[in-house]
Assembly symmetry: C2
Homo-oligomer: 332 residues x 2
DNA sequence: CGCGTCTAGTTATACGTATTACCCCGGCGG
DNA sequence: CCGCCGGGGTAATACGTATAACTAGACGCG
């Protein structure tokens, strides 16, 4: 009661194993007659034949599988990146396997004992640099997402126009009349956040004020940090620019606890346009990131690299989405 | 510049390939001398040897890989299930691969061309029944999560005590004095939601009122549906029991739009205890599901099945978490 | 008629591993 | 001195596939 092999199909169809392989592999044009091919396909269907992929991989020296390294599986953004990557991959007969950052699994344990070496290439977020080291995938073709162009490990790179997104946010707020800004930064060591900080500093005019507060990427942590920041002495900012919607949600909660209304007393902007952005009240003004497109381009880039051809593309544009969490500053 | 094979290690160590395999496979007690084993390990480390898994899989006829079939990758709940499963798997030299329901990838495309047949077993959520059909994994050992015990496909089963969770919610609300309930049900065809509906109907006493409204599992959809339900003529319910935190968040938004305060005018309960539950204002009274434990038990069950031993365990208990979205009904 | 060419296949082999069956050699009991 | 045994290792093989190299026959053409 074992799985049928190509040899079983061959004897059922009355041909050789090689013929079966040719027919099912699609490379039989002019090598096998239409009639025989039909017989083979019939026999294969009859037996419910499916090729043994371990054998195929061994023969081809390729697994047609890419690894997507993400910082956290709970992240809606990376879930969408995965979707995009999987779509492109499946168009090319590739599979995609996820490697979430080992956090919560334990640093010493490798969640991919069986997949680790069975890969053709790696697509990795710059936010998961440590996980990437853990894989030791340095010997595999690597595509990095939203990473520092100076990082030499990547064979290709897919970046979002984060700086432009920050610029759009800042101009929106400046246009509303805001002059005292608080940058609510993600307490994560990642190039992509550094870029946002720099972009914001660059676009805020000299006569305006810009301070910075950091918090880990979670709503409760963000709330705590922002409560402290808003309660601090001195002139209160009128607009909080957040690195992430999670931070923005936390900031809104903090504001409400302190009796501040959003957006009348305090404007808050997010980043990413997660589902959360429209789940909270008021809905967040934020920056929409085309996550699926990141995944698609990442996979395309990897395929190009594997193919030996080069790959390069402009930064993926991002768009400001104005909702209810921003308004002109209080008259004061 | 190709990857070293066990044969390369053998010639470097001055032994045969078989010896290398024995030593590195750990089955050399009494077959190879301590000294030779040391030499082999040294050579392997020197060359950076890592076994070719396609070859190993082919030889062993096993891939040591399980597939986790989930309805949606964006789901925080299943992300945690995955974490638990991956932890147990890695303890046993197994890997876990995710198969998200094809939604968004297209029904005709199989995101796992390379993994489909390269699996030892499948763990599937009952919410992803159609995806499961698409894989055609019927011939593989199957563990089902939160599924109908009458479904005969599963070799083992891991269930949460959903009915008990609903009971806890209902008793909490009854204890607060509520008598007019609205069940906000997920518009998803899944056993796990049917169970909740039945449990709620069973625990609400005859003199109380219980209606039902359905909506898809998203905050905007939930908000729309609940706005309509609350604006409907007739006596308004005082408590909304939701199948999911997403629905609860939508219900809160709908209430606020209609000028109702939560929890003073309307109590709302969630289910799942997602991050969202503490991100919204007020924080949701909800039912915490130990998702990691579901993943752990699911993987343990699969390993047991593969091992030929049976597996059975009681339902995993769930706990009510009381937060700010429930209060006694308005005096009226 | 002889030769090249085309069609429709087949035979043979390699991929890298795990494991079974075998082999060699030194020592030991008889 | 021979048979036997056990320690230490090796040779050989199979897993199932893809493909390069080959072949048998039919056919056209000079």
């Amino acid at each position: 009661m074992t799985r049928p092999t190509s040899r079983d199909v061959a004897s059922a169809a009355g041909v050789s194993q090689a013929t079966v392989s040719l027919v099912l592999g699609g490379k039989w044009r002019g090598r096998v007659s239409e009639r025989t091919a039909g017989l083979v396909r019939e026999a294969a269907a009859e037996l419910g034949y499916r090729p043994n992929l371990a054998a195929r991989n061994l023969r081809l020296g390729s697994t047609r599988t890419a690894l997507l390294v993400v910082p956290a599986l709970t992240s809606e953004f990376f879930a969408r990146v995965y979707t995009g990557a999987a779509r492109v991959a499946s168009d090319h007969g590739f599979g995609v396997v996820l490697y979430p950052s080992p956090e919560g699994i334990g640093p010493a344990r490798d969640p991919f004992p069986s997949a680790r070496a069975a890969l053709d290439g790696v697509i990795a977020s710059s936010m998961a640099a440590d996980a990437l080291d853990a894989i030791g995938g340095a010997e595999l073709p690597l595509v990095m997402l939203d990473s520092d162009p100076a990082d030499g490990r990547a064979a290709a790179r897919v970046n979002l126009a984060m700086a432009d997104g920050v610029r759009q946010v800042a101009e929106h707020l400046l246009g509303l009349g805001h002059r005292r800004f608080l940058h609510f930064a993600a307490d994560v060591d990642s190039w992509t956040f550094d870029v946002r900080a720099e972009a914001l500093a660059a676009v805020v005019p000299p006569h305006a004020e810009l301070r910075t507060v950091r918090a880990p990427l979670s709503v409760p942590d963000a709330r705590t940090a922002m409560e402290a920041a808003l309660a601090a002495p001195g002139e209160r900012p009128t607009a909080v620019v957040c690195d992430d919607d999670l931070l923005a949600a936390g900031a809104c909660k903090a504001a409400r606890r302190l009796g501040l209304r959003v957006p009348e007393d305090l404007s808050v902007t997010g980043f990413d346009d997660l589902a959360l952005a429209t789940a909270v009240e008021p809905e967040l003004t934020t920056v929409r990131l085309p996550a699926e497109q990141v995944g698609e381009q990442g996979m395309s880039a990897l395929l190009a690299v594997l193919d030996g051809s080069g790959w390069t593309a402009p930064d993926i544009p991002v768009d400001l989405v104005v909702r209810g969490s921003t308004a002109p500053p209080p008259a004061a």
